[in-house]
């Protein structure tokens, strides 16, 4: 399957205008019928006569959610692209280094242990424990995978991948074990959480997500050339003057932090980190200089579209967005596998 590669200077503006369109749609579309003119008025509250509840829906529900979507989608896709480059493995995604698994486990512990104490704790505390525990869980599992894969000769990507699979299996087992010790309520909370949702968008959360994205984008962009060298192989990259060990360490830590932040804000949202970089490579090729910003853009766009579907498809109920990303992503993933198969045989 050879697709005509397009230059970034064409693809990027097109993507950006699509994103802009999606943002506008996301603010206008929802279970509540709000006209375009009303939506626009909500952004100029000082001169509009809007009913209070429409103000609230636009300003405190749709807009924060839309912004959070953009940041989370961008971070997930960006980390996915970096991971795939680093592991030189087209099927790598942030989940593979054990971040998602560890984070889920952390969240599960918080929900099961502190969920039962929720009545005696101030609610604020229990709301805060889940994200914090998720972040810690992700950090610990990444550290474990990294340590397992590293010895005096450097970090072995293969060992890390395998360790990631093992850690993933371990956290899956621990989650399964909890099924037998948790009460129904905690279980339901947990299953909702592992499917991800952007409903809990808060301004501090959005600020955290965007600053995380900014830092990651800036650092990754400076490492883009080193990542390109990496595509030739580790030894070759070394000969080209890349400090391979330092590069690996910093990128893995940053990806873990990025995904940890995402998971702690929205739960686990799958497939974005896996699929989007491939889409990017199909459009503009494997050069990380263009692939990284494009992945971020596409990630934001696709997650926003998925969230819109999640919001309206079962209205007035709302689906977890992870279900939608899986529905969109899984067939695409299978296509990828078929393509890979053709290349390997």
């Amino acid at each position: 399957m050879q697709i005509q590669r397009l230059p970034l200077k064409i693809v990027f503006p097109v993507g950006l205008s699509l994103l802009f369109l999606a943002v506008a749609t996301s603010v206008i579309v929802g279970p509540m019928a709000i006209t375009l003119s009303q939506s626009l008025k909500a952004f100029t509250p000082w001169q509009s006569e809007l009913p209070a509840h429409i103000q609230i829906v636009i300003q405190q529900i749709r807009l924060p959610r839309t912004l959070l979507c953009i940041a989370i989608g961008a971070i997930l896709a960006l980390c996915g692209a970096v991971m795939q480059g680093l592991f030189r493995n087209p099927l790598a995604d942030p989940g593979i280094i054990g971040v998602s698994g560890g984070a889920s486990l952390g969240a599960a512990l918080a929900i099961v242990l502190f969920g039962s104490l929720a009545s005696s704790f101030p609610i604020l505390l229990t709301l805060g424990t889940v994200p914090i525990m998720a972040f810690l869980g992700g950090a610990v599992s990444t550290w474990l995978v990294y340590t397992l894969g590293t010895d005096k000769n450097g970090t072995s990507v293969t060992i890390m991948l395998l360790a990631g699979v093992a850690i993933g299996a371990l956290s899956g087992a621990a989650l399964g074990l909890m099924n037998y010790f948790a009460d129904d309520q905690a279980l339901r909370d947990l299953s909702l959480w592992t499917m991800g949702s952007l409903a809990g968008a808060t301004w501090p959360g959005i600020a955290l997500a965007f600053s995380t994205f900014g830092i990651l984008m800036w650092v990754f962009d400076r490492k883009a050339n080193a990542l390109n060298a990496f595509l030739l192989g580790e030894a070759e990259a070394k000969h080209m003057g890349v400090n391979v060990q330092a590069l690996k360490r910093s990128l893995i830590l940053l990806c873990a932090a990025g995904v940890g932040v995402c998971v702690s804000l929205t739960g686990v949202i799958g497939f974005i980190g896996l699929i989007i970089p491939h889409l990017g490579r199909m459009l503009t090729g494997p050069n990380h200089k263009s692939l990284l910003p494009l992945s971020a853009l596409l990630g934001a766009l696709i997650l926003l579209i998925a969230d819109m579907i999640a919001r309206v498809i079962a209205a007035p109920a709302e689906l977890p967005v992870g279900i939608i990303t899986a529905i969109l992503g899984a067939p695409f993933f299978i296509l990828l596998l078929i393509k890979q198969k053709g290349r390997l045989s």
């Binding site: 019928a33 509840h53 609230i56 309520q185 209205a315 109920a317 709302e318």
Partner: protein, 281 residues
Amino acid sequence: MKRLVLATTLLLTATSSLANERIISAGSAITELLNAIGAEQNIVAVDATSRSLVNKNIPTLGYHRALSAESLIALTPTRLLGSEEMGPKTTLDLVKQAGVEVNILNSGETVNDLLNRIDSIGEITGKQNKANELKEKVKQQVANIQNNNKRASTVSKKPVKVLFLSIHEGRPATVGGRNTTADTVINLAGGINPAAQKVESYKPISAESMLEMQPDIIMLSSRTYNSIGQADGLFKELPLLAATPAGINKAVVVIDGTALIGGLGLKSLSEAERLNRVFYP
């Protein structure tokens, strides 16, 4: 739309008169009480657990722990009723900001919880008289069961051991342990729940443990009963049960599934009364 919005905002400032209340009920135990005191025409939307209790044309908001703030506000309710489990908190905060009254009612497992819940619903809707009538009815039902239990014990019957099982295709069977509505219903109906000492809430257990409990009667939800092919299907699914009194006598009772969600409700109580007659004819 605009006029409707204006009307509701004006309403919010006025004292609540039931005639104009637009209630969203997030919990079957609450929906059934609204129906029972004649406030069903005020319900504008319900959660997934109440679906069977209202007309088909009433919108369903999905799961009561994952409510969508915008959908709630879009229905321009004056009031949102739910249990402590209702959430997420961010949604509730936004709904309150939009001027909707949010009332949290208990979803407890005891008869007293139910009586308190009826009181709260009466207060909220201003139908105290109806609520009091309903409470009398509940007390009467409890008294009926107790009298029947007294009568049964004079005939020197041992209390029956009733095990609640829930069976899903391809997964181990789940029993109803402590702190479940199934447990409350069994106890109310004068039975003993052998799973209560061993597990809390609904947990999968091995067939061996079931055998050890030696239940006299197996209780299934109506849904399980029909999906596994009734009593014969149960003993095919769990052949070990043949070595229990329930298996020997083919003693299987069915409970309406809606009686088991959202704490002890009116339906749970009437099912307890009915089952009590089955346990001790």
